[in-house]
């Protein structure tokens, strides 16, 4: 895995604290699996030493990458100052993404988590007529990318914590309500649907609990502080069930041969084994979100 140069093509705000950036890599990105990410080195200096991970929001026809980022700290603050023509250095596409199947998709996004679901939605729209999307955020102005999402999906259920748009409360509460009303018309059994979720730790953990209690196949994209982004340093771990017991097909594949024997749980890396995991594979996750 070699880092490649990427030139900024566009970098514009799409909300008060959120930007959309298009990058032209020196080698075009031919393909990426939804849920994969790029790891961006912002400067060659000694400030902002670590790379920053961002989901691939979109790949353009010419092989450019688009990301959508929320401005939170030093790195993303710096990113807002990047101008078309400036260069950064990227590693990617990295990690194991979402797995698409024929089950009826229900997508749940928390805040900027929509950035991790857009490419998936785009791919799903090619095979599914009915896709259900539940985006949630603190407030209306943090519901990013809605126009893009509306183009790809007709069934959108919104929740905001302050009630400024959609129902008032957490998106995971909205999800529970949604599931209990079985609004999903073509679906007879819960096993005929699949939940895809991306968002802050507290939110993905809540979705994991819903998935387990209601026995719904669910894929979660996790976040963790990263170093290398490619499995060298073991910084970005999350707790998973012993791989040997994990029945989930695709992810078990990614983890194959790495079982640590008879332990009841073990660490997996978010960068290499994830970021997408089957809910059934995960142990309860601690919420260590800084900005959560």
């Amino acid at each position: 895995m070699k880092p490649i140069d990427a030139r900024i093509i566009r970098n514009k705000p799409i909300a008060p604290d959120c930007y959309r950036m298009q990058l032209k890599p020196s080698k075009p990105f031919k393909t990426a699996i939804p849920g994969q990410f790029v790891h961006i080195r912002l400067t060659k200096g000694y400030k902002l030493l670590l790379r920053r991970p961002f989901s691939i929001y979109n790949i353009t026809d010419s092989g450019n990458i688009e990301i959508v980022y929320q401005v939170l700290g030093k790195g993303t603050e710096f990113m807002t100052s990047l101008k078309p023509g400036n260069k950064v250095d990227i590693l990617g596409p990295l990690g194991n993404g979402f797995r698409i199947n024929n089950q009826t998709p229900v997508l749940v996004a928390g805040g900027v988590g929509v950035a991790g679901l857009h490419l998936l939605l785009k791919r799903l729209a090619k095979r599914h007529k009915d896709i259900y999307l539940l985006p949630g955020a603190r407030s209306k102005d943090k519901l990013y990318c809605l126009p893009d999402l509306k183009k790809l999906c007709q069934h959108i259920t919104i929740a905001t914590e302050d009630g400024s748009m959609g129902s008032k409360g957490l998106i995971t509460t909205a999800l529970s309500k949604f599931l209990s009303k079985s609004e999903i018309r073509p679906v007879r059994a819960k096993s005929e649907m699949v939940i895809y979720a991306c968002g802050p730790k507290g939110m993905t953990e809540a979705v994991r609990q819903i998935a387990i209690t209601q026995k719904i196949p669910t894929q979660l994209s996790l976040e963790e502080r990263m170093g290398c982004g490619i499995g060298f340093c073991r910084a970005c771990v999350c707790k998973v069930k012993n791989y040997a017991d994990a029945k989930a097909p695709a992810c078990a594949n990614a983890l194959a041969g790495r079982s640590a024997g008879k332990q009841d749980w073990q660490w997996a890396t978010v960068c290499e084994d994830g970021p997408v995991f089957e809910a059934s594979q995960l142990e309860p996750q601690m919420n260590t979100d800084r900005h959560g």
């Binding site: 895995m1 400030k47 963790e224 170093g227 290398c228 499995g231 073991r234 970005c236 660490w267």
Partner: protein, 300 residues
């Protein structure tokens, strides 16, 4: 003509002085062909530290960025000796560079057991004794803080192997040259320094430490001046062969160094430094790196 970048450090001959530091490149297994080629370009490759039994390491977050550095608290997560031999060693031993296994433990006996097993295996060119990890509770740093324990561990291991032995020291001591002397007396061939510097970072908004383990080890450019001073202390006091570690991100001024944090930022970085060194020597018309090593002069 291609300049000669070969260096000798104690009994180790390296094709160039750039060594991948322990813990920043895994074990070299499962890597792509590209990574394989990169490792073959560097002068040496040191595995993540292995211990006798598997270790799970610390809870996340395990890494945080600080000014000009990072603090990590991986906690020596590793698969243990048995699985290292079964799953990783066969691949590791194929690298065409100096293949060094980093060995750690909570007590002296652990080092012995590991070396005893590994000394019988092929495809290893040396050992680095990690007596200085700040991220484990027992042993770890406390070993490298005691000249007696350091001497004892090294001398017991020395009897078990003829391969080059590197003792990796912690900066968390009052006089590093005393510990270096003890390691050399115990039979170490080379001293490597420094391991990370004990440190912590706080997230004032959440009023919490940034790391799951609360404290960790600082690495990166921030520690380079500390490392340089300690290397100087050890060299002037003991004349022992030394490998410098800490904050290396460029090729200038290298004699024999380990590169850690930079691998996390750029997986092709260490290989790039090795290439860069060749170019630098060519540009300065230096035929052999050995001609300039040890030529740093004290100001008069």
């Amino acid at each position: 003509m291609k300049p000669d970048t070969k260096v000798k450090v104690g009994p180790l001959t390296l094709k160039n002085p750039v060594i991948v530091a322990s813990g920043t490149f895994g074990y070299g297994a499962e890597f792509s062909r590209e990574i394989f080629a990169n490792i073959n370009k560097v002068g040496g490759f040191i595995t993540k530290t292995i211990t006798l039994k598997p270790r799970r390491g610390n809870p996340p977050p395990r890494i945080v960025e600080t000014p000009c550095g990072i603090i990590n608290s991986i906690g020596l997560e590793n698969p243990g000796l048995e699985r290292f031999c079964a799953d990783y060693l066969p691949y590791f031993s194929r690298f065409k560079t100096a293949r060094i296994v980093s060995v750690g433990g909570e007590e002296p006996g652990e080092f012995n057991e590991i070396i005893k097993t590994l000394a019988r295996r092929k495809g290893i060119d040396g050992f680095e004794l990690n007596i200085s990890c700040p991220n484990i509770k027992k042993g770890g740093v406390s070993i490298a803080q005691s000249p007696d324990v350091t001497r004892q561990i090294v001398s017991r291991v020395r009897r078990l192997t003829g391969l080059p032995l590197i003792a990796k020291l912690s900066p968390k001591v009052t006089d590093i040259s005393v510990i270096a002397r003890a390691a050399i007396d115990g039979g170490a061939d080379i001293i490597s320094l420094i391991n990370t510097v004990s440190a912590m970072a706080v997230d004032w908004e959440r009023r919490r430490p940034c790391l799951g383990n609360i404290t960790g080890g600082l690495s990166g450019p921030a520690i380079k001046p500390i490392a340089l001073k300690m290397v100087r202390d050890v060299v002037t006091e003991t004349r022992a062969p030394v490998i410098g570690i800490g904050g290396i991100m460029t090729a200038e001024g290298a004699s024999a160094v380990q590169v850690g944090t930079f691998n996390l930022i750029d997986p092709a970085g260490a290989a790039g430094l090795a290439d860069g060194l060749t170019k630098l020597l060519k540009k300065r018309n230096i035929k052999s790196l050995r001609d300039i090593i040890g030529t740093l002069e004290n100001p008069v």
